[in-house]
Amino acid sequence: MSKIWAIAFNTFKEAVRNRILYILLVFALLIMASSGIVGELTISARERIITDLGITSINFFGLLIAIFVGIGLVYNELDKKTIYTIVTKPIDRHQFLIGKYLGLLLTIYINILIMVFFFLAVIYYQGYMDFDVMSKALWVEQANGEWASPTVISYFMYYAKAIVFSLAKAFGTLTLLYHSPLTQGILLVVFYGCLELAIITGFAILYSSFSTPTLSAMLTVLTFIIGRLNADIIVFADRMKEKGFETSTQKMKYIFAWVAAHVTPNLWLFNRRTSLAVDNVEIRLEAYPVLYGILYSAAILYLAVHIFRKRNFK
C-alpha cells in the first residue's frame, strides 16, 4: 500500500508542475469571480446565476483537468522511458497504475477544493453586497430620524471586512464548522461531481494505458458524452420494445441499446445541480450513487490494470 501512495504522491507532484493545470484553475477562478458581474445582467435570479456559473465551472474545469492531465500520465512515462526506472524496482504494474490513478484523483480533488473554497467565498461575499445587508451595516440613524450617508472610509472598511469574513466563512464551510442550506447543497452537488470525475479519470487512465494522448482525449470526451446521455439510451431501447420487433435487426438493436445502457457509465446519476433550484427538495447523500461510483471506478481501473499488465514496453 505504501508503494501505491508513494507513486500517488509522486504523480501529484508531477501533475502540479503541469502548466495546463494552472491555466485551467486560473480560468475557473476568473469565471467564478466574474459571476458577480454576470449576475448584474439578470433580473431577479442573481443568486441562481452566480450559483450555476460556479457549480458548472467547478464541474467543467474538473473534467478538463481529468482529461488533459490524465491522458498523458501513463503515455509520458512510456514515451520518456522513465517507466523503466519504476518497473525495475519491486513495484507491481497494478500498484503503478493505481498509484497513478490516485495521484491524479488527488490532484483533481485538491483543485476542486481550491475552486469550491473560492466559489463559497464569492457566494458569501455576494451576500455581504446585498443592498439590505449593506445598508443596514453602513447607514447610521441620526437623532433627528434621518439616515446619514456612509463615508468612503466606512465603505472601504466594509468591503475589507466582507472579504475577510467571506474567506473565513468559506473555510468554515469546507471544514464543516459553518454552513447554510445553500452551501450544504453545494457541497453535496460537488461531492457527487467528484464521484463522476472518479469514473472519468478511470477512463482517462484506461485509454492512456493503450493509446496516444490525442486518441485518449477523444475517447474520454466521447465516454463522458455517452455517460451523460445514458438515460436517453434506455429510453430509446424501451421505445423500440414498445413498438415491437418486426425484424431480427430491430431486436439486435434493442439488445445492443439495452446492454449499452447498462455497461456505459450512468453519469446522470451524479447530476444534482437541478435540485439546487427546486424548492423543498433537499439534496441528500444517497448510498446507491456513492456505491455505484466506487464500484464502477474500481471496475474500470481493474480493466486498465489488466491491459497495462499485458503491455510490452519495448
Binding site: V38, L41, T42, I43, S44, A45, R46, R48, I49, D52, L53, T56, F60, F131, D132, S135, K136, L138, W139, W147, F224, I225, R228, L229, D232, L267, W268, N271, R273, T274, A277, V278, D279, N280
Partner: protein
C-alpha cells in the same frame, strides 16, 4: 573588465531587442483595435433586432446537446431573453418573438420560477399577449405543482388582464393549496367578491412587484411595476367616476356637464381611494432607509388607502379627469384625462369639420348653422365651459376656449 563591458552591451542589446518586440506587437495590434473600434461604431448605429431568437432550436433539442449542463444553458438563454426584452422595449415593443426564448428556458429547466413569472410579465403586461403569458404559467404549474407563486400569477392574469373571475378563482384556490402560501393570497379571494376587486388585486400585485424590484435592484421590474400601478389606479378611478355619472343620469335625467357635478349631486358611492401622493412619498421614504422594502409593505398599504371616500378621485399622474364630450356614460372611454380629453376633442372637431366640408362639396356653400348638418341640432357641450364657434362664411368650427385646436 572587458567581460563586464561585453555583458553590459549584451544586456543593453537584449533590452533594445525586447523593447523592439513589444513595439512591433503594438504596431500590429493597434490597427486591429482601430478596425474593431470602427466596427463597433457601425454596430452601435444599427437598430437592435433580436429576431434571431426565433431560430433557436426547441428546448428538448438544446437539452440533448447540453449534455447535463442544461441549467447553465437555461441561464445563458435567460440572459439573452432579458437583453432581447430590453432591445424590444427600447424599439418596437413587440415581444411575441421572445416567447420562444422563455419556452426554451423552461424546457431546459422546468424549475426556473423566475422565467415563468417574468415571461408572463413580458408577454401579458407589456406585450398584451395574455394567452401566451398564461400558457407559460400553466406550463410552470404542471412542472412545479407545489409552488404558490405560479397559480397566484395566473389568477392575477385571469382576473386583471383577462377579466375572467371564474378562471381567476380556479388559480387562486390552487395557490392556496400550496404549503408555503403567504397570507395575502387568501385575502385576494375576498377581493373577488367585491365590485372593485380586480383593481385591488392588480394594485397589490404591482405594489408587491415594485417593492421587490427595489429590494432586488431590478430597474426593469421597477419601471414596469411603477408605471402599471398608476395605470391600475387610473383605471380604478375612471370606473368610480363612470359609475357615479351613470347614477347622475338616472337621478337627474341628463348627462353631467362637468365632473364637479358628481360631487355636488352626491352621487359618488363610498369607495376605496388610493392616495398616490402618499404612496409615492412612502416609497421614497422607505427606500431612503436601510432594510427591505417588503418589510414595509403593510405600512405603505395602510398609509395610502382611504376607505369609504366620497370626494372626487384625483388623477394618479396629476392630470384632470373630463367627460368625453362625444360619448355618454354607457360608453367605455366616457371618462378621460387631460391628454386623452384633448385627443377626443380633436377627434370631435375633426368629425364636425369633415361634415361641414362634405356639405360644402355637395351644396357649394357652407351650412348657415350646424342644424343643417345635424338632424337634432348639435347638442354636445363645449367641454371647457366655453362655446362652440361656427362661422358660416368660411366654415370654421372651433372652441372659444381653445381656438388653436
Amino acid at each position: 573588465m572587458e567581460n563586464n563591458i561585453t555583458h553590459k552591451k549584451n544586456a543593453a542589446k537584449n533590452v533594445l531587442d525586447y523593447t523592439w518586440r513589444i513595439l512591433l506587437f503594438f504596431l500590429i495590434f493597434i490597427p486591429a483595435v482601430f478596425i474593431q473600434n470602427k466596427q463597433l461604431n457601425i454596430i452601435r448605429k444599427k437598430p437592435r433586432i433580436y429576431r434571431q431568437s426565433l431560430y433557436l432550436p426547441s428546448g428538448k433539442n438544446i437539452r440533448l446537446i447540453s449534455i447535463g449542463y442544461d441549467r447553465f444553458m437555461a441561464d445563458f438563454i435567460w440572459l439573452r431573453a432579458i437583453q432581447a426584452f430590453g432591445g424590444h422595449w427600447e424599439s418596437d415593443r413587440n415581444y411575441q418573438s421572445i416567447y420562444h426564448l422563455f419556452d426554451v428556458i423552461t424546457d431546459l429547466d422546468p424549475g426556473f420560477i423566475e422565467a415563468y413569472t417574468f415571461g408572463n410579465l413580458v408577454m401579458g403586461d407589456e406585450g398584451g399577449h395574455q394567452r401566451l403569458g398564461l400558457e407559460l404559467i400553466n406550463k410552470g404549474i404542471i412542472k412545479n405543482p407545489t409552488n404558490y407563486l405560479l397559480p397566484y400569477w395566473g389568477g392575477y392574469a385571469a382576473f386583471w388582464q383577462m377579466d375572467d373571475p371564474v378562471l381567476a378563482k380556479y388559480y387562486y384556490t390552487r395557490a392556496l393549496k400550496a404549503r408555503d402560501v403567504p397570507n395575502f393570497v387568501s385575502r385576494i379571494l375576498t377581493y373577488m367578491e367585491l365590485k372593485s376587486g380586480r383593481y385591488q388585486v392588480a394594485f397589490e400585485k404591482y405594489l408587491r412587484d415594485w417593492l421587490e424590484g427595489i429590494d432586488n435592484q431590478d430597474d426593469i421590474v421597477i419601471g414596469i411595476a411603477s408605471e402599471r400601478i398608476l395605470d391600475v389606479i387610473d383605471e380604478w378611478q375612471r370606473y368610480i367616476i363612470t359609475q357615479a355619472a351613470k347614477k347622475y343620469v338616472v337621478e337627474t335625467g341628463k348627462n353631467p356637464s362637468d365632473i364637479a357635478d358628481l360631487a355636488k349631486a352626491g352621487v359618488i358611492e363610498p369607495y376605496t381611494m388610493i392616495d398616490t401622493q402618499i404612496l409615492l412619498a412612502k416609497i421614497r421614504q422607505y427606500s431612503a432607509q436601510p432594510g427591505k422594502m417588503m418589510n414595509h409593505y403593510q405600512e405603505i398599504l395602510d398609509a395610502c388607502i382611504r376607505e369609504n371616500a366620497t370626494s372626487l378621485p384625483k388623477h394618479p399622474r396629476g392630470l384632470w379627469y373630463f367627460f368625453n364630450p362625444s360619448l355618454n356614460p354607457e360608453n367605455t372611454g366616457y371618462v378621460v384625462d387631460m391628454v386623452r380629453y384633448l385627443e377626443s376633442m380633436q377627434n370631435l372637431l375633426s368629425a364636425v369639420r369633415k361634415r361641414i366640408w362634405t356639405f360644402y362639396k355637395e351644396k357649394g356653400r357652407h351650412p348657415y348653422d350646424l342644424s343643417e348638418i345635424y338632424k337634432d341640432s348639435f347638442k354636445i357641450p363645449e367641454p371647457f365651459g366655453g362655446k362652440w364657434i361656427y362661422s358660416p362664411y368660411d366654415g370654421a368650427f372651433y372652441s372659444s376656449v381653445m381656438p388653436a385646436y
